[in-house]
Amino acid sequence: RFSQSFREVAGRLLASEANTHLLVFGMEQRLPPDSELVQATLRLFQEPVPRAALPRPERQSPRSARAQVTVEWLRLRDDGSNRTSLVDSRLVSVHESGWKAFDVTEAVNFWQQLSRPRQPLLLQVSVQRERLGPGAPSAHKRVRFAGQGAPGGRGEPQLELHTLDLKDYGARDDCDPEAPATEGTRCCRREMYIDLQGMKWAEDWVLEPPGFLAYECVGTCQQPPESLTSQWPYLGPRQCVASEMASLPVIVSVQEGGRSRPRVVSLPNMRVQKCSCASDGALVPRSLEP
């Protein structure tokens, strides 16, 4: 509305009508120390809808009766405000019932980044219309998930955490400089010196440093047993890779206006700080924003 080049356009809220549930999971000590989260799955039990409760058009074309179920991670900030981050969303049929799984790995990754003492993991589940607009079906109102306190605990919301013990499946720190790396060496960080003075192209104009320790990741990683890998077919084998890198500042001499001037530039990702075992295809955790 503050722009000169656009006419103000009035908006109309068509519908939100979200049916929202807040799930609270006490997480302290649920994740073992020195472990890596592979996957977190939220399981919700969708209760069956009696056929008699369905309007006639939905009984005739059951495929059209769907609802959008969205899972968000809710963070209560120190200033009292809330912030939500979308973690998973999918369409569910109103006519189905049974367990529905949602991938909430990212929410648990976010939760792990909170400073201690950490608040419980808060997951906001909302059930919305499949699409907005006039004539959109209101099937979403008939989607019900079982809550806590169901008789016999049947159908209660569940959070499944799959972790790997890094003592077995992780990398070591630095390699033993006395022992040469062989095929059986466990993933570690090995010293590798880059001699800038010895490089012909760098002669005369790369002034500092004369060389630097770049390090490299060598060795192999233990693979999870086949029974586990079949659960996550999208994950590749665990490989020894550089997981944290540091930049390298250099002083170079560049010619400007017929004179040479020393200049400092920072080269990103030049030195390996940490090696880790990681699977190709695994979620790269997003950093928690303020």
Partner: protein
């Protein structure tokens, strides 16, 4: 980290396509001004504490 990767990264940062060829007189000027060295040292210290996370 190969020699080529290192050279390419440096040239990219300087927006150069080839390593510069300095004339002999320029190459023999060894003095690095104090403010340039101070910036270099500051970046060096910063890079020890500031790591980028990746795969």
């Amino acid at each position: 980290l190969s020699e080529e990767q290192l050279r390419d990264s440096l040239l990219q940062q300087l927006h150069l396509s080839e390593p510069p060829v300095l004339d002999q007189a320029a190459a023999e000027e060894p003095a690095i001004p104090a403010h340039v060295r101070a910036r270099y040292v500051a970046l060096l210290q910063q890079s020890h504490g500031d790591h980028s996370r990746g795969k």
